[in-house]
Amino acid sequence: MASNPKEISNEDVAIELEAWLDAHWDSEKRCEKGKDKLDTKSWLTTLLEAGYAVPTWSSDWYGRDYNTKQARIIENILKSRNVIGRSQDRFNLGAVTVYRMGSPELKQELLPKMLTGAFSCLLYSEPNAGSDLAGVRTKAEYVPGKDGGEYVVTGQKIWTSNANEATYGMLIARTDWDVSKHSGITFFIFPMKQDGVDIRPINQITGESEFNEIFINEARIPARYIVGELNGGWKVLQTALAYERLIMGEGATERQGKDKSKVHPLVGLARRHEKLNDPVLRQKIAQAVAYRHLNALNMRRAKAEIIENGSSSLMSLGKLAMSRVQHGEARVAGEILGPAGLFDGEAFPDSADMNFDSAKSYMHSIGGGSDQIQRNIISERILGLPREMEVDRNMPFRDVKSG
């Protein structure tokens, strides 16, 4: 399906794709050539079969064996033509996980679906296992039957985004309660569209509901939907999380390394509210802007180091630094607004933004590993300081205290 990357030049990669797109993709209508409107699934199948959805993957599995450089060339061309379904080897976390760690049978069964629109949500977090992911108490019990039997799952997951839209959930559940906490976890691809799955939106303090709680009551998973080994889920999860961090980290490095629009929003806000001459506020505004600026400079250095050495410890600082930036900017915005900050709603857009941002900052400082967890990671993995003691690491999970 694809040529060997060693045999094809970067120029030819581009030429070949441009030709293929000219034949298959209508950039203006944003659909397949010769059709009136986009049939997503049909188009994604066309793209997939051409090897352009996951160009870095093996040619045995929908890919073209391309290297990263070539994949970026493809990504840029597809992006410039507004092609949907691109770069799934970078961003389709469910598919990447199955591709990297699933059995050939599982890949055969799931990848075509996952790469043509059946996407996945994350079912890791639980109310009692926040930072402590290995503390999962959702249980999966084996029931024999045809096709290798199935698992019956009961438990509760939380902080899942896009749960209603997802076909699959990447689920960790406890399959052995008598071994240590990390040893009794299995990683499943969980079919979301079934009885026993109750999705409830979480009302957030921002007024949004980006996330859901998922109540799972005797839902079913075919036993063949295990990724990796039975009870080997912790290892699979670590790999899946590493992909996630990579994706999020790259995104963050790019976003944070990019300078914002010429005028920082706080400067605009202060100008609108005639506070740019207030000497006390000037100091606070400048410092708030500077923290964002400094992080952008750190991320620029990170990017340069990644290009140079393939990795950069600076990348790990971004999330923690951005917490301070976001809480700080919202706070200074409040000080610029003064008593008007008490107001909210459409009549007071600046106040509404400031109040929203003040609450939303917690999404950043708590979600995806709180500031405290980030400080642990930085001090342990970058600075090499001793790890936090885990008292429950080696006891049977039944005996682990939780709450």
């Binding site: 977090s125 109310p127 009692n128 296992a129 926040g130 930072s131 402590d132 503390g135 939380i158 902080w159 906490k181 979480i202 009302n203 957030q204 303090i205 006390v280 809480h327 409040g334 000080e335 003064g338 008593p339 008007a340 900050g341 008490l342 107001f343 909210d344 709603g345 009549a347 007071f348 106040s351 109040n355 003040s358 609450a359 917690y362 999404m363 400082s365 708590i366 979600g367 709180s370 500031d371 405290q372 400080r375 936090e388 885990e390 008292v391 429950d392 690491r393 006891m395 682990v400 205290k401 939780s402 709450g403």
Partner: protein
């Protein structure tokens, strides 16, 4: 000086605490928030019956003749429950201003209704800048024969939509005077201001030749006095609120487990908690000493009111902010109470004067000392 004894104060505080425990728990709070009025009129009536609404009213007018110390004690209780009510407007500012009036008929008539829980009064004092000082008054009044006509704007008016009367502070030839206005009188326009803090109800009031009844004898000094009482009340509320959210957080640290340990066993949490305790106790000390100095008419009273004005507000802001962080995801949900305390704390940063304003005034007091 008050005639109320220390024992009577404690007894009253304890009764109030019991009332709030029964009638103003989180469920009741969320119910009150969801009403248009923003408070529970039945609870208001019970507060009247208990004498809470008359705490600053002279016994001569049916009140219990309490002082700033009692006020602060009660407000700690109210604050710990995030009590929603027009208490500060009606029972503190309006009571105090009416009590300063030289028109005994009016005084007696209004105070008796406040005491009975039959009248809530909103305070229209500050213009759009939200200064809450006499310099920030934007309404002017002029005499027209026997009556007074009022023109101008007042903003940040609490619980105006449900008030029986609006007490308007206005300038008359560069003198500060107070007037009572009926909310439904001609020339009075109210517009609701949506707030971020759901426990807070604010309106803007536009007066265009509205007729007001002069509250004779009330001047700038009386207004300053009443606003200082309001600030002490707010400081007490903040001291009570910050203590409560802190206790909720410490409780969570003891009961929440991660990695097989209570999260309160992690040094990062412990050290944050220790620093927060300093803030909590400092807020309590500031509020109580301000109340005491004010009640005693001490020279330090204004200094301590300004100190409490920023120390309590800032402590409340910082501790609620940390409380959400320490709770983690659960406090990011609307159903958890932490954000309600956090919103109320942020309200306090601006109500009755900003922290920066109080800090500056505090220094001015120290310079003069």
């Amino acid at each position: 000086m008050t005639t109320i004894s220390a024992e009577e104060r404690i007894a009253m505080r304890d009764s109030f605490a019991r009332l709030l425990e029964q009638r103003a728990d989180e469920e009741a709070l969320r119910k009150a928030i969801d009403t248009d009025a923003g408070y529970d009129p039945a609870l208001w009536q019970e507060m009247a019956d208990m004498g809470i609404l008359s705490l600053l009213v002279d016994p001569e007018y049916g009140g219990i003749g309490g002082d700033a110390i009692l006020l602060e004690m009660l407000m700690e209780e109210a604050g710990s429950r995030l009590l929603c009510s027009p208490f500060i407007s009606t029972a503190v500012v309006a009571s105090s201003l009416t009590g300063a009036s030289t028109n005994d008929d009016m005084k007696s008539q209004i105070l008796s209704k406040i005491v009975a829980g039959q009248l809530t009064i909103a305070i229209a004092m500050t213009g759009e800048k939200g200064l809450w000082t006499t310099a920030g008054v934007d309404v002017t009044a002029r005499q027209n024969g026997d009556s007074w006509q009022l023109d101008g704007n007042a903003s940040f008016v609490m619980h105006a939509e449900t008030a029986g009367r609006i007490l308007v502070i206005a300038n008359v030839d560069n003198e500060i005077r107070a007037f009572l206005v009926a909310p439904d009188a001609p020339g009075v326009a109210l517009s609701t201001l949506k707030t971020n803090d759901p426990t807070l109800r604010l309106s803007q009031i536009t007066l265009s030749g509205a007729v007001g009844q002069l509250l004779e004898g009330v001047n700038g000094v009386a207004v300053d006095h009443a606003m200082n009482l309001a600030r002490i009340a707010l400081a007490g509320e903040q001291a009570g609120g910050v203590k409560r959210i802190f206790d909720i957080t410490i409780d969570y640290l003891q009961t929440r487990y991660q990695f097989g340990r209570q999260i309160g066993s992690y040094q990062a949490m412990k050290h944050m908690a220790a620093d927060m305790l300093v803030e909590v106790e400092s807020a309590t000390s500031a509020a109580r000493h301000a109340a005491e100095a004010f009640a005693k008419g001490s020279d330090e009273a204004q200094t301590l009111v300004n100190l409490a004005g920023f120390a309590c507000a800032d402590a409340y802001r910082d501790v609620t902010a940390q409380a959400i962080q320490m709770h983690g995801g659960i406090a990011y949900t609307w159903e958890h109470p932490a954000h309600l305390y956090w919103r109320r704390a942020r309200t306090g940063l601006w109500l009755f004067g900003s922290s920066d304003h109080h800090r500056d005034q505090y220094l001015t007091q120290l310079e003069a000392a």
